[in-house]
């Protein structure tokens, strides 16, 4: 187990290093840089002004020097300066992380809370009216694009309540924040819950046909005990995998929801930074997302062991 963890840690470091090189090079392969954009934004194409800006920002230096400066800075906790705002990148990124993290966390909570129990119910009541109803709901969750669903929610809210649940002012209390984020979280979580529900259902159906479930029933275990203690625990392995993947997706995939509900989170900021070729922001945010994804994957692997004691990681 110990050597597995060491190997796993080294692999995580290697993955992050690979990501850093990849994002660094890819960003610079995209046509146009910040100096192009800044002069373009002013409606001019002055080569001298462009060169001056490029020099000021250090993007006229060789690519390996720029990479070394970035990694060197990272090791010292210095994320550099944002090109557009001309402020330290950390000051730009830090306030946005909790907002997106809370939104993603609530969305995932919503997805699991809805997806797993409804998936179980759908499997246990297979081919009943309730099963068909839940399957239609889950299909619609997968089919409705979240930007469209978000707009529908906003329109319905304005029509029926005369108000719009968008992030227009910083919430003053925890409860206000929860209220503000719950609707967008539900919109995002709806899609994830549909996926989790379908997977839980199919996984449960498979497990429910296993011999040990029949044995449990023949021993006189209650339906609740059979479904939740014996079947669900074994059916959860693929579900945990998909929850891990969804969690990783939510970290960077909130762009549409953040835009529609006007939430000043990381995802919208990242897209804006990409459009502006704001390298320090993009590089650091992508690295942060990569780190979260790697950690979540690690935790999912660890969860396998907790769920199924038969699983042993090779020494």
């Amino acid at each position: 187990m110990g050597s597995y963890l060491v190997r796993r840690f080294l692999l995580m470091v290697l993955t992050l290093f690979g990501m850093s090189v990849l994002i660094f090079v890819m960003l610079r392969l995209v046509p146009g840089d910040i100096s192009d954009i800044l002069v373009n934004a002013a409606g001019i194409a002055d080569a001298k002004e462009k060169a001056k800006i490029a020099h000021e920002l250090g993007i006229d230096q060789p690519i390996h020097v720029q990479y070394a400066q970035w990694i060197g800075g990272l090791t010292r906790g210095d994320l550099g300066y944002a090109y557009v705002s001309e402020r330290p990148a950390i000051e730009e990124i830090a306030p946005r992380i909790p907002i997106s993290a809370k939104l993603a966390g609530m969305a995932l909570f919503f997805a699991v809370l809805i997806g797993v129990p409804f998936g179980v119910i759908s499997a246990v009541r297979q081919n009943t009216g309730l099963d068909y109803f839940l399957r239609v709901i889950s299909l619609s969750g997968l089919s409705l694009p979240s930007f469209w669903l978000g707009l529908l929610v906003l329109m319905a809210s304005v029509h029926w309540f005369g108000t719009i649940p968008i992030y227009s002012n910083e919430p003053r209390s925890f409860l206000q924040e929860v209220a503000l984020l719950s609707i967008p979280a539900a919109v995002v979580g709806f899609r994830s819950s549909a996926l989790i529900m379908r997977l839980t259902r199919s996984s449960m159906l498979e497990v429910l046909r296993q011999d040990y479930v029949r044995t449990a029933r023949s021993k006189g275990a209650s339906e609740v005990s059979v479904n939740y203690d014996h079947a669900l625990r074994n059916a959860l392995l693929p579900v945990v995998t998909i929850i891990g993947i969804e969690a990783a997706f939510l970290v960077g995939g909130l762009i549409v929801t953040e835009t529609v509900f006007n939430i000043p989170g990381v995802a919208r900021f990242l897209v804006e930074a990409i459009l502006w070729r704001d390298y320090p922001i993009v590089q650091n945010l992508v690295m942060l997302i990569a780190f979260v994804v790697v950690v979540v994957n690690f935790l999912v692997d660890m969860a396998y062991m907790a769920l199924d004691p038969r699983i042993k990681f090779a020494e």
Binding site: G32, L38, V39, I44, D46, R87, M155, I164, T259, F269
Partner: protein, 533 residues
């Protein structure tokens, strides 16, 4: 007796209302406005977009300004701002301003003539000043005739021009000509600018908000009325409109409401006050006249003859966009060609079929026809407001055997591509900062301008531009401007396909707002705006 008293009372009330309109205004409140995107910076001098002017103009003053109570910006409607008065010398080459005393910057430092000199030295690109205050200068061409700026003590400054230029005062009155301070570095001006204006910038959070609060030390006593202005950056237009409908905002972003959207707004908020007006932003065609096939003037002429500007307007704005040539047409435009003269220009004729028949004839003489169309690429920025007219253009060019293919270009490399002349035809939008021939012609058509994207070079037109620029008699000058417009149209220099008209809406509680009808870039000081609630 009662009737007599009533007459006296009514007369007194009418007299008081007329003599002192400020009686009705209320102080206080926060004006909430939606913003369409993330402004590139807060530095008005360095940018060329309404996204910067509208929120940040209120932090500044100019030397002079277009009368904010008038809807039309014109040279005879310029009023003092940081300057108390101004005078020209006998040969109209030296403009001297007496400056207001006791004006303070938002950080408490005194405003002096030195600040004016700093600003214009930077704009002229003179020496090291430019390094400190600005790093981009999109309107350098406005100041090519400005030779020197001299101070005479703290309260007087003179501008020495190379030749008479009556438009110079109009340029100083533009929203794009605020006075910057010598002591605030450019980096601060781009993120949290210091001005002398009625509102102080307290926060500019990217992707989120811009907050301005009342400048308690503002030199104009009793102004501004508002306590604060809260701009909320909402990139999604549907969300912005729904937010306005739900009462989250008191006002939409300028010209944000298209004519189809206007119906939705009126349905959601029947009491909304909406005003449609020309933005002085025109859609025009960039023609690469230095490379085949459009280096042939006959081909350029044929292409212009295929244009049906009315069809563009009908599709893009339900017929509300205006047809015009290089200058914004009247009545909003002060200098544009009258309708009857406009109709004589290629591309603006009323009998489109006749024009197109002539265009086809030219194309046939050049060897093109239905079986041998000319294939061209039409490049444009990959943004809907650019793409949509480009698609219509492709359709119209088919009428004269030109088969166009849309080439959407990432906005980040658009100007670089245009500058390299790496295009055949391009669809472009041009916003004019001041409805003034010098601003428009020198920026867009003068041979040495950086923003003359097509590289249109015509020494005769340059000379005509210089001549009209120096002409003091306005009527005589207007006729010279019309001649230039005709000449540009004949040469197919950036054919204009229409002037955008759009709506801005606000709640009935917002009072004192006067939209400028011949430039969206002016009139955003907000010092006379108040809230009736």
């Amino acid at each position: 007796m009662r009737v007599g008293l009533a007459i006296v009372a009514t007369t007194a009330a009418v007299f008081m209302t007329a003599a002192s309109p400020t009686f009705a205004q209320k102080h206080g409140g926060t004006l909430r406005i939606s913003h369409r995107d993330n402004p590139p910076s807060a530095s008005v001098l360095e940018e060329s977009t309404i996204s910067v002017n509208q929120p940040f103009m209120a932090a500044f003053n100019n030397l002079v300004v277009f009368d904010p109570s008038e809807k039309i910006n014109s040279p005879d409607k310029i009023v003092p701002d940081l300057a108390e008065s101004w005078s020209w010398n006998a040969d109209n080459t030296k403009l001297t301003f007496k400056l207001r005393q006791g004006v303070k910057w938002h950080d408490g430092k005194p405003f002096t003539a030195k600040d004016v000199k700093c600003t214009f030295d930077a704009l002229r690109g003179d020496g090291d000043e430019k390094v400190g205050i600005i790093r981009k200068n999109p309107r350098k061409v406005w100041y090519i005739n400005l030779k020197d700026v001299a101070t005479n003590g703290d309260n007087e400054v003179s501008f020495q021009l190379g030749r008479p230029q009556p438009s110079f005062l109009s340029m100083l009155a533009a929203g794009y000509s605020p006075i910057y301070s010598c002591h605030v570095p450019g980096r601060d001006m781009r993120s949290k600018p210091i001005g002398t204006g009625p509102f102080k910038v307290v926060e500019f959070k990217r992707n989120e908000s811009i907050k301005l609060v009342r400048n308690l030390d503002y030199w104009k006593k009793g102004r501004p009325y508002l306590d604060a202005i809260d701009w909320r950056i909402v990139p999604n237009r549907s969300t912005r409109m729904l937010g306005f409908g739900a009462g989250e905002f008191d006002m939409t972003f300028d010209s944000d409401v298209t004519f189809p959207l206007l119906k939705d707004i009126k349905a959601q908020k029947p009491d909304a006050v909406c005003e449609g007006r020309p933005t002085n932003v025109n859609s025009n065609i960039l023609i690469n006249r230095d490379a085949p096939p459009f280096d042939n003037p006959e081909l350029r002429k044929a292409m212009v003859l295929a244009l049906d500007n009315r069809a563009f307007a009908d599709i893009l704005s339900q017929g509300n966009d205006l047809d015009g040539a290089a200058m914004l047409p009247p009545p909003a435009g002060v200098w544009g060609l009258p309708k009857d003269m406009l109709a004589t220009l290629p591309g603006h004729a009323t009998d489109i079929e006749k024009s197109r028949a002539e265009g086809r004839k030219i194309m046939a003489s050049l060897g093109y026809g239905p079986n041998k169309p000319l294939k061209v690429k039409i490049a444009t920025r990959n943004i809907a407001i650019y793409r949509d007219p480009a698609v219509i253009l492709i359709d119209q060019l088919k009428q004269i055997y030109i088969e166009g293919e849309l080439e959407p270009i990432d906005t980040t490399v658009w100007y670089a591509k245009v500058q390299r002349k790496d295009y055949q035809l391009g669809m472009n939008l041009t916003g004019v900062g001041v409805d003034d021939p010098d601003v428009n012609f020198y920026e867009n058509f003068y041979s040495t301008s950086e923003r003359n994207y097509t590289g249109y070079k015509n020494p005769e037109v340059d000379k005509m531009i210089d001549q009209q620029s120096a002409e003091v008699d306005r009527d005589k000058r207007r006729k010279m401007v019309w001649e230039i417009e005709k000449r540009l149209a004949d040469d197919g220099a950036r054919p204009v396909i229409g002037y955008n008209v759009a709506n801005t809406c606000w709640t009935p509680q917002v009072k004192g707002l006067v939209l400028q009808h011949n430039s969206i870039y002016n009139g955003w000081r907000f010092e006379d705006v108040w809230l009736d609630r």
